[in-house]
Structure formats: C-alpha cells, structure tokens
C-alpha cells in the first residue's frame, strides 16, 4: 500500500514517475485521437494500423543489425513500425477505392496479412543470433513494470507531441467528424483531414506500443472515446472527456502496476478503461442505461396519466388496467370518479390540451406531434410563441374543450 501511495504521488522513484507521466500523456493522446476515429465510424482501422506495425519492427531490427548496430534502438524500431503501418493504412484506403470490396474487408485483410508477415520476420530474427533479439516480443503485449529509461522518455515526449498535434488540428478534425458534408461545403479537404487523423492515430499507436503492446493500444484508442460519448453530445466536449478518461486510466493503471510488479502495465490500464466504460454505460446521467430506463418509465406514466384523466373527465371508462392502477396509486381517482387532487390536475391538463390544439392552428407549419401528449407545451414552444397561442385561445376564433 505504501508503494501505491508513493507511486500515486510520483514519489516511487524517477523511473516509475516517468512511466506514470508517459502513461498519462499517452492516455490523453490516445483518448482524444481515438474520438475522431470513433465519430468517423472507423474505430477498427486502428486495429489494422496497430497490427501492421509488427513487420516494421522486424525489418527495422534486421536492418539495424545488418548495419552493425544493436538492433534495439527504440527510435529505429518506432520508425520502422511507422513505415509499415503507413503502408497498411495506404492499402486500407486503396482497396475500397479501387475495388468493390468494403472497408471492413480491407481492414481485416491488412490486419491478418501484415501480422502474419510480422510473425514470419520474428521467426527469422529468432534464428539470426540468439539472445540479441530479446525484447521484440514485448511490442506484442507491452512491457511489464520494468521499462527502460530511454523508452519512458520516448513515450513521454511522443505523447506530448501527439497531444500538441491534436490541439493544433482540433478545429478541422472536429468539423469533419461532426458533419462531413458540412465540412466539404465550407471548403475543407476531407480526405486530407482524414489522413491527418490517421497520422495522429498512427503516432499514438507507435509510441504506445512499447508501453501497452500493439494489440492493446487499440483499446486505448477506442474505449475512452466510446465512454466519453455517454457523457456528452457535443463533439468538442467528447474529445476533452475522452482525453481525460484516457489519462485517468493511464495514471491509475501505471500506479497500480508500479505498486504490484506482477500486474503488467498495458492490460491493467485497459481494465481501468473498461471499468470506466461499464460505469458510464449504466450510470451516465443522460444516455446511461439506468437513466434511459427511468426516463422511459416516466414518459410512459405521463402518457397514461394524462390520457386516463382526460378519459375520466369525459365520463368514459378507462380500459387499460395499467392506467387505472397508476391513477389509483397516485391518489388521482377512486372507484366513483376523480379525487380533488385528480380534478385539479385535469384542469391543468385541459389548459395544456387546449394550448396544443390552438398551437397547431397558430403554427400549422411546425411539426409538434413529437411531444404532443407527452410533454407540457411550455417545454416545446418559446415564451413569445406561447403568448401568441394564449391570445388566440382568448379570441373568439377558438373553441376550447371543456368537460363538466
């Protein structure tokens, strides 16, 4: 527990602190870059990009050995991975443009084939000179707690520059992912902006590989973005929230993994992100499962209450047993008719009902059937519009409905 608190406060050693900062920056960058992908409905392109980095790592290693180097220089490996990921990205774009295959087939084939090529290269490297290749496998699943100082620096700096890049390009990215056609109409080149977005995703993937592994970096791009979508309907807010959630997952994950060395950093970060996702899926205030459920029940009760009261006021029988139970439970009706409370409510509803009918005549072009009978008219019309409707009701042209 002591190490946990120390790690939380960045006091558990220089290396741990650096890894934690790196994980936070990476989380923020991945979360916000992933949001644009998610909103453009291309979340799984990131999966293909990530898998397409593997052959690049292999080729870079072989070339560096061939040139007489160590082969494990992180910058060299990252450059190699970026190059093959870029080729993969190009093919994903080329196949649906050139042939009749859909994008998902292109994503899947690039993913499988490039990963296969990467595995082939890994087996080549294994036979080259034993021992020296150690560490390349860590790109698959990320490294555990023990990370080299050099790697941590690369992740921290790379994460910082990715965030900077997203900040600079936030306007065109937001507009294109919010409304592609609008972006075209105001003169943006959507294809170029898409490429820019992919470039950012590629950057995040490449720098995140060493920390969480190329298979799980996809999780850091997708999960925070999907989670953030539950908390807001505005693109610019979703980007910020996703960045925050990604950074939070990175922070908690890195701290947990520093305090318990058997917990590998990558999977723990992803599990934290999953926990945040599940919490949001159920508990988010507007689009969470619980609030949707409660909202739906409320709407159902509103409709039944209103229609039931109007029916009784008209002197007719309520057929639906749900309505009868609802009215009785809320003390609005007895077996012999409406209670005082019920009568009061009927008066209110009648005013609203008359306003709706009048409003339809005053504003014949307005589509008001969506909320009619569900919400009060005050929630649909502005004050000025309502004033006009009331004036119309007072005039002699309108005949109000009344029940005795």
């Amino acid at each position: 527990m002591n190490t946990f608190v120390q790690a939380m406060l960045f006091q558990a050693g220089y290396n741990v602190a650096l890894v934690t900062v790196g994980a936070i920056l990476l989380g923020i960058a991945a979360g916000s870059a992933g949001t644009f992908l998610f909103l453009r409905k291309r979340a799984l392109v990131s999966d293909a990009i990530a898998h397409a980095t593997l052959p690049g790592i292999g080729v870079a290693f072989i070339i560096m050995i061939w040139l007489g180097g160590d082969g494990r220089s992180i910058l060299g490996l990252l450059c190699g991975s970026a190059i093959t990921a870029l080729i993969g990205l190009f093919i994903i774009e080329w196949i649906p443009r050139r042939t009749r295959l859909p994008e998902d087939a292109a994503i899947g084939s690039v993913l499988g084939v490039f990963f296969g090529a990467g595995i082939v290269l890994l087996t080549v490297i294994q036979t080259m000179s034993s021992g020296r290749q150690a560490g390349l496998e860590s790109f698959l699943l990320g490294s555990t707690a023990g990370m080299l100082f050099q790697d941590a620096i690369v992740i921290a700096i790379g994460g910082f520059f990715s965030i900077l890049g997203i900040w600079i390009a936030r306007r065109p990215l937001t507009i294109v992912s919010f409304d592609k056609d609008y972006a075209i109409s105001v003169g943006y080149d959507v294809r170029q902006i898409d490429l820019l977005m992919m470039g950012l995703v590629l950057g995040v993937t490449v720098i995140g590989m060493k920390l969480v592994g190329l298979i799980l970096i996809v999780a850091m791009l997708i999960i925070p973005a999907v989670t953030a979508r539950f908390w807001s309907n505005r693109t610019d807010e979703v980007v910020v929230i996703a960045g925050f959630l990604g950074g939070l997952s990175g922070y908690i994950g890195a701290v947990l993994s520093a305090s318990a060395p058997s917990l590998p950093t990558g999977p723990i970060i992803v599990m934290i992100a999953i926990v945040l996702f599940v919490l949001s899926l159920f508990l988010a205030p507007n689009s969470g499962v619980f609030s949707t459920f409660i909202e739906r029940r409320k709407t159902k009760s509103n409709i039944h209450r209103r229609q039931g009261l109007l029916t009784i006021a008209k002197g007719e029988n309520v057929v639906s047993s749900f309505t009868r139970k609802l009215l009785a439970n809320e003390g609005l009706s007895r077996s012999d008719g409406l209670t005082d409370k019920g009568k009061k409510l009927v008066t209110k509803i009648l005013i609203d009902e008359n306003r709706w009918i009048a409003a339809k005549e005053v504003y014949p072009d307005k589509d008001m059937n969506i909320n009619y009978g569900i919400k009060l008219i005050e929630e649909t019309l502005t004050k000025e519009e309502l004033l006009k409707v009331d004036q119309y009701i007072k005039s002699h042209k309108f005949k109000s409905i009344t029940y005795d």
Partner: protein, 307 residues
C-alpha cells in the same frame, strides 16, 4: 526425400488446407454481410477463453481449451450485441471495446496464474505451431493405408477434418437460406426465413472455425484466412456459388505455397532454419488478394472510377 515429406510436411499442409477452408467458407458470407471483422473479434477472445479453461481445469488439454475458447467467443458475441443495443454504439466500436477488453483480461489472468511451467503462452496462442504437427511413424506412401500408423497422426488433424466437414455440410444443407439472407434480409423475412437465426448460426459457425483453426495455425492468422480468400474470390466472379469455390481454391493455394515457402524458402537463401508457416500462409493469402485486386475480372463495382 518422399519419406521425409510425409513425416514432416504432409500433416501440417493438410491441417493448413482444412483450417483455411473452414475459415474461408463462412468468410464469404461475413464479407457480403459487411461483418468481416467479427472474425477478428472472435480470434482475439480465444486467448481469455483458454486461460479461463486452464484455471478451471488446471490442466492443458485440448477439449477443455476448445470449450473455453468457444465459450469466450459466445460471450464476446453476446456482449457486443448487448453493448450495441444498450449503448446505441456502432458495431465496429462495440466490437473494439469487447475484444480488447477481454484480451486484456486474458493477459492479466495469465500473468497472475502460474502457467509458466506449462506450455501456455500468449505467443503460442497468437502464432500457432503448425510445424510441430508431425507424423513420425510414417514410412513412405504405403503408411496412408496402414491403420496402425494412421492412428498415430496428430489429433489436431482429425479434429480439423471433422470441423471442416461439419462446416461444409452445413453450408450445402442451408445453402438456399444462406444465400437469400445474405443478399436480401427483407425478402427473406417475407418468405418466412428467420434471418436472425441464420445470422446467429453464422456467427457460431465462425466461432467454431476460429477455435478449431486457432489450435493449429494461431488466432491472428485465422483472420487472414477468414477474409483474404473470400475477398479475393469476390473479385473473381459475380455468382455466390462460384465465389465460395474460388475461396476454397485460394485457401488451398495459400496453405500449400505458404507452407512450402516457409519450410523450404529459407534453404534456397542458404539459411538453415525455416520461418513461421502460419505467418507465411497469411502472407501468401495476402499476395493472392493483392493480385486479384489488380487483375481480378470482377474487381470493380458498377460505375467505379478506373485509375
């Protein structure tokens, strides 16, 4: 030479071919229904499945592992569906959330349990071990007719024969339904076909194929075999039946050439060691797809720009 081929190469090639066919045939329908990536999702969740199966049984044996993998595939498919509906999230993102989450959980459990002594590691699950499925007792072609020697064939071969036969016969039996549901769900509904049952069965078949193939060729390579042969076949013809046959042909070609290049290719370059056969099969299937993308007779959709 022949003897060596039968001992060391015949069974891996056969298993590669059968695994390829088992994946490629359902892949045809997945691609046409724009669900190509469900194979991707399923092959990632195989790992948590076998890890959990290992924890429950405590032994590395095939049947519990296959059941665990199949169970995980089923859980993944159900979770994807739930998240899609509850959260109103587009299918791709829902898939991404589920399979990466389950994969992370699998790695985490694997690191927590003492599985290091037994042969259960992530790389094995990802890469497969096609090369180790050898038939040492074989002595030339006559061994193919010797029952006692045939019994010593790797169990993986019998399982993949069974699965491949199962998938092929289901495809033949339900051909008409599959065809109608694939092309026109609305029409299928009007003539009384429950398209949701067919769709769900297709996913289950996909899971069975993925699990059976993962055992020998590794889970990631499975994705290539789900998508590349059918995608290449799609560019060869406009008829579904012929497309399925092309996809089988491509899967066979990929398996044979992939294995031979992996096993003997490095020798031609003077290296003593072979490279991963499963990986090379995926690469060859990719090359086939690339060739059909450039020269396939039906590669363009109507009105597509020729450039």
């Amino acid at each position: 030479m022949i003897n060596e081929f039968i001992q060391f190469s015949l069974t891996p090639i056969l298993i590669g071919i059968l695994a390829g066919i088992s994946c490629a045939v359902p892949g045809n329908f997945l691609i046409l229904k724009r669900q190509a990536l469900i194979g991707d999702a399923i092959s990632h969740v195989v790992l948590p499945g076998i890890v959990v199966a290992f924890i429950f049984t405590g032994v590395i044996s095939t049947i519990p592992m296959l059941l665990g993998a199949a169970g995980a595939a089923l859980v993944a498919v159900i979770l994807i569906e739930i998240i899609k509906r509850l959260g109103k999230i587009e299918p791709g993102a829902a898939m991404g959330v589920v399979f990466t989450g389950m994969f992370a959980l699998g790695v985490l459990i694997l690191e927590q349990t003492d599985t290091s002594k037994v042969h259960l590691d992530v790389e094995h699950a990802l890469m497969g071990n096609l090369e180790s499925l050898i038939w040492l007792k074989a002595q030339g072609w006559q061994s193919l007719f010797d029952l006692d020697v045939l019994k010593t064939l790797p169990d993986e071969l019998f399982r993949i024969i069974f699965v491949c036969g199962f998938i092929l016969s289901l495809t033949v039996i339900f051909w008409r339904w599959l065809k109608i549901v694939t092309f026109d769900e609305e029409y299928a509904r009007t003539i009384g076909i429950h398209s949701s049952i067919i769709n769900f069965s297709l996913v289950i078949i996909t899971a069975i194929a993925a699990v059976a193939a993962f055992e020998s060729v590794g889970s990631i390579i499975v994705i290539a075999m789900f998508i590349c042969p059918p995608a290449a076949a799609r560019l060869m013809t406009n008829k579904l039946g012929i497309q399925v046959i092309w996809s089988i042909v491509f899967a066979i070609l990929a398996a044979i050439f992939g294995y031979i290049i992996a096993g003997y290719g490095p020798l031609w370059f003077g290296s003593k060691n072979s490279v991963s056969a499963a990986g090379m099969i995926a690469v060859v299937s990719g090359i086939i797809l690339l060739l059909t993308c450039m020269y396939g007779p039906c590669r363009e959709s109507v009105g597509q720009k020729k450039d």
